[in-house]
């Protein structure tokens, strides 16, 4: 059985991301990193593929920028990496993205499980995950905290899902798409040997025609980016003879401002 996971390069979460004068999103000279949520899905793909004696493949959809995340994935221990890209592919449109993703999963072949990290940290979305499951026509299990059993022979999966205020245990038939939470595992660091192997790897690029996909016009249109309005911060020092008096004045002000 084949396990597929997706990843992407995103700006480092500590980078100052802003929109420049040309309306482009920039993050200075800060490094890009693997989407932090994907660290968990990559690790889970490696572990589960090993458990079932299968193969783990990682896919990124987008420009060459994402090769870095793919090489990081190979250095961690994924068996194969593929990038999907064609001019005209609008990755900001999640339906476009999901259509290409589903076609790539089908091209890999014999895939029993697709594992996503909970979301993309750059765009802050996860709808592309559900849309990929829908395009594939497979079961979707989100917010998985633990894979309790992956049975390749009987084609079933048993997971523990996180719910608000509790947990839920579910079984489902394979093939399935899951999204995993932080804490499902402890992602490994790329080893020296892994890095050496990954740096020498040639990453194949699949075009939309390789996937046999013709995309309709994007159903969403990116109009533009803008920075958040700058919030004016006013600092006021509260005077008072005693800490109690200061606290009382503070409470009054908070009530006035309807914070309390």
């Amino acid at each position: 059985m084949h396990i597929v996971t997706f990843t992407r390069s995103t700006p480092d979460t500590t980078a100052k991301v802003e929109v420049n004068g040309k309306g482009e999103v920039t993050w200075g000279d800060a490094a890009t990193v693997v989407n932090p949520w994907d660290e968990y899905s990559l690790e889970e793909a490696i572990v589960q593929a090993k458990n079932v004696g299968g193969k783990a493949t990682v896919i990124a959809i987008g420009t060459e920028m994402h090769n870095e995340a793919l090489k990081h994935s190979l250095a961690m221990g994924l068996d194969a990496a593929v990038r999907v890209w064609s001019d005209g592919l609008d990755v900001t449109d999640s339906l476009h993205w999901a259509t290409a993703a589903a076609a790539a999963v089908n091209k890999v072949g014999d895939v029993g499980l697709v594992i996503f990290g909970k979301e993309s940290v750059d765009t802050g979305t996860d709808q592309h995950i559900y849309q990929t499951a829908r395009k594939l026509g497979w079961t979707m299990l989100s917010y998985v905290a633990k894979i309790l059993e992956l049975d390749a022979a009987n084609k079933t999966i048993k997971v523990e899902k996180v719910l608000e205020g509790g947990k839920q245990v579910l079984t489902a038939k394979l093939p399935a798409v899951i999204s995993v939470m932080k804490g499902i595992n402890e992602p490994r660091y790329p080893s020296f040997i892994g890095i050496r192997k990954a740096s020498k790897a040639e990453i194949p690029v699949w075009s939309l025609s390789d996937l046999g996909v013709t995309l309709p016009a994007a159903s969403t249109q990116l109009v533009g980016y803008s920075n958040l309005p700058v919030q004016e911060v006013v600092t006021e020092i509260i005077d008072g003879a005693t800490p109690q008096e200061k606290a009382e004045k503070l409470v009054e002000k908070l009530l006035e401002a309807k914070v309390l």
Partner: protein
Amino acid sequence: MATNTPLKPNLFNPFTEEHEMFRKSVRAFVENELNPYVDEWEEAGIAPLHDIFKKMGQLGFLGLHYPSEYGGSDADIWFTVILNEELGRCGAAGIPMAVGVQTGMATPALAKYGSEELKQKYLKPALLGDMVCAIAVTEPDAGSDVASIRTRAVRDGDHYVINGSKMYITNGTQADWICLLARTSDGNDYRGMSLIVVPTDTEGFIVSKKLKKLGNLSSDTAVLTFENMRVPVSNRIGDEGKGFYYQMEQFQIERLVGAIGGTAGAEKAVRDTIRYTQERHAFGKPLIANQWIQFKLGELLTEIEAQKRLNYYCASLIEANAPSNEVTRIASMCKLKVGRLMRQVADTCLQFYGGMGYMEETPISRYFRDSRLTSIGGGADEIMLQIIAKLEGMEPR
């Protein structure tokens, strides 16, 4: 910024994409596996080196430039440079020092001159992180003056009987073996010494005392005593009587590794100070609005950049198997300059932190204590100057 990756490595920036991938991995390891725990280790006066080294060994971090048949990776010198630059950013200098002892001080001579049996038994487990090791050269009455050591190893059949004492031994309370420099024949000079691998479970091996220090608190430092220790002659590294020469050679890697880590630590201290002085306001403006502060920090970054390029030049000499005198000359310059630079950085940056810098909770106060060692350990500044003077032909005529 140094994070940019050039497409074509050159003398000024020798790192490839592969090197930079490795840097990211080591940086993540330092940030997640070391920095969250350094306060606890500083408080305890010791770090769990067996656990730390096991993790590092599994990732291939400990044996980078060593041969793969002994647990190494056959990597070029630039991976070692990166490892030490990233470890230099650790929140406590005691940890990179412990790693430096393991990979750059106790093991180079064993790898180069040790027997196959010794390398399999002691080098390989050290590089895989299964054993912790230490280098034992300094004695209570012989520090920089290595030729004056008194620890004696007297031949008795197939064994040496070793008596003596060693001082300031990093990793000394938890090492599984030490690389010991002992006198194996009569005389009082640099001839007649040998390097011997001594397992610490040998009868007569005594950790006499765990020393209290000014800084590098997370690193355990010991006084070791040897009472009639019997160690097989086959544990000797290379030829009898050549230990001093092997040790002097071993010192060059140690000095470069120290300079690389020291430079990275100094850069981190300055950049942290820039951030602090941007945030801290006094007299109605950020501290860094004062030109004096900008200029002083600018001067330090200039010195750091120059030091970095000197380090890289030294690494390139080692990579090119340059004549040992030239490596020694440049490694000694690296070591001399970085020790002085660190003292300057620590003093200047702490001053700009003001009272906050004097508080234990502020990282610069730990840096102030930790950084002072570099001008003393691994050959004091004065020894570096003696070496440089000699190699530059400054003897009186």
